[in-house]
């Protein structure tokens, strides 16, 4: 591609072609820069999880898997992982239960206050988690609730609502209206239409939104920071380890998290692709 455009530019030597070539190389530099910027740190994180040295310095000293072995012997860490799974699963289910009806309401109904409703639902996208965390902490304290993993779940579900609503709403908007019209013409009531027509059509959006919510909740820290009681989630555990300094063990946990994220991304891409190709 680049080779052919180079030879073309040489042959013609027209200013336009030369300008285009210059622009193309400029873009190539930007794209490589962005990619390097995004992925070098992740690569470094992974590499140093296998490095045979307590301090994270160059040059690399040797290969080891001992940091990983240490992880699996660390009870606190394993408990934290368990807690994170519990929190992320519950928060995902809750946020879907609230978010899907919200997206349906935005898509289908016209009602007074709809603009405010939408604004509030989407607010957590741009609202820093710390505000959500602190305001909920204040509320739980004022009404005498003790902080626990359950309060964290409620906080996460609220913060992630916007993710579910935007994704499901976007899919609903792309569904042809004729589908639900045909369904009610054939005598289905709105509930039947939802279960047998709408739901199968937005299934992949639900899976995508659910996966993303799960990952975001699993990694969440600003809300968790304020709402957790004595129990630590995985990010909170890592955070408290970081206060004591950098260690290769953190890199090892990090690498495992990166790996899990990659698998989940792949799953969601497969679902999205199957959906877009299957439709045509």
């Amino acid at each position: 591609m680049t080779a052919t455009s180079t030879t073309l530019a040489r042959k013609r030597r027209s200013p336009a072609a030369r300008a285009r070539l210059a622009a193309d190389s400029g873009f190539a530099v930007i794209v490589s820069l962005v990619m390097a910027f995004l992925y070098t740190p992740i690569l470094i994180l992974v590499i140093y999880s296998f490095n045979d040295n307590r301090s994270l310095t160059w040059p690399l000293t040797g290969f080891t898997t001992s940091w990983y072995e240490k992880l699996f012997a660390n009870d606190q860490l394993l408990t934290a992982i368990g807690n994170s799974f519990y929190v992320a699963s519950c928060a995902t289910v809750l946020t879907l239960i609230v978010g899907v009806p919200a997206a349906l309401a935005l898509h289908r109904f016209h009602f007074p206050g709809k603009t405010v409703f939408r604004r509030l639902l989407l607010l957590p996208i741009a609202l820093p988690g710390i505000v959500t965390g602190i305001s909920m902490l204040n509320m739980f304290k004022m009404f005498g609730f003790n902080l626990s993993l359950e309060t964290v779940i409620i906080g996460h579900a609220t913060a992630l609502l916007a993710v579910v609503v935007t994704q499901v709403f976007a899919r609903l908007q792309r569904l042809p209206k004729s589908l639900s019209e045909a369904s009610s013409d054939l005598g289905a009531n709105p509930l039947q239409t939802f279960i047998f027509v709408t739901l199968p059509n937005i299934r992949t959006a639900l899976i995508g939104a659910g996966l993303l919510s799960f990952v975001l909740s699993f990694d969440e820290i600003p809300v968790t920071f304020f709402l957790t009681g004595r129990d630590n989630t995985l990010p909170m555990y890592i955070y408290s380890t970081m206060r004591r300094g950098v260690t290769p063990e953190i890199n090892a946990v990090g690498t495992l998290i990166v790996l899990t994220s990659l698998v989940l991304i792949a799953v969601s891409v497969v679902f999205t692709l199957r959906d877009t190709t299957g439709r045509r």
Binding site: A19, Y39, I44, I134, M242, V269
Partner: protein, 288 residues
Amino acid sequence: MSRSRIARHSGKLILGIPILWIILFMLVPYGVLLTYSFWLKKYPLFVPAFQFGNYWTLLSDPQYIKVLLRTLKISTLVSIASLVLAYPFAYYLVFRLKSPTARLILFMAVIAPLWVSYLLRAYVWKTILGTEGILNSFLMSIGLIDEPSGIFLYNQFAMVLTLTYIFIPFMVMPIYTALEKIPPSFAEASADLGMGSFQTFVKVTLPLSMPGVVAGFTMTFCLSFGDFIAPFLVGGPDGQLVANVMASQFGAALNWPLGSALAVVMLIIVLSIISISDWFEQSGKVEL
């Protein structure tokens, strides 16, 4: 008749669940937050009151204004840095890249880091930039510097770099979407009218992509404005941002009313930015 009744009830449920949730877990907490911000701190407790002392402290004590200005500066720099990298990237993907597969892969490659723990993405920069970090030891091993330098970590540069790294996907996504919406026929028409590709960009593409730029700017600005993890990890002693001060009021400083007042201020700032950007988007909207 009965069908319409079911419709009415399912409608109530569809609307009722989210509205109930919003009231219970958004409006009530914000209300409590506002209430707390008027309370007094009387060691070791907080007592109900209605006074503006906490807000007055924020205005009159220069350290809070200083932190606020620093935070505004950092978030502006982060948004600008993200924009400078994200715009050409998105432009290339939409207008220059011919292969749809390559476009999808590159786009996914920018979004993917969002799925990778945010805490770890901040942490890794600490390991890179630190005095005993990877960058320093690397520069020493190739002989560029003789002793470890402390200039990389614990300053505002480190903070801008780390926050840009974390939030840049939020800039790419809306710009990409905005650019994708511009019909190719517009560029063709512009070329037919004798405009060069640069002129076309300035007069056609750029104005039409402004809603995406505004949306991206709003998101990166607001998110870095409220971040307290990255400043904690790479910011150093004079790298505290508003959110760090806020968090410390709920921790060591133990002054919830003052922390709540700060949170209210942050909420107001974020809401104003969102409203301005909404207004900007609406007024700049062109029917395609």
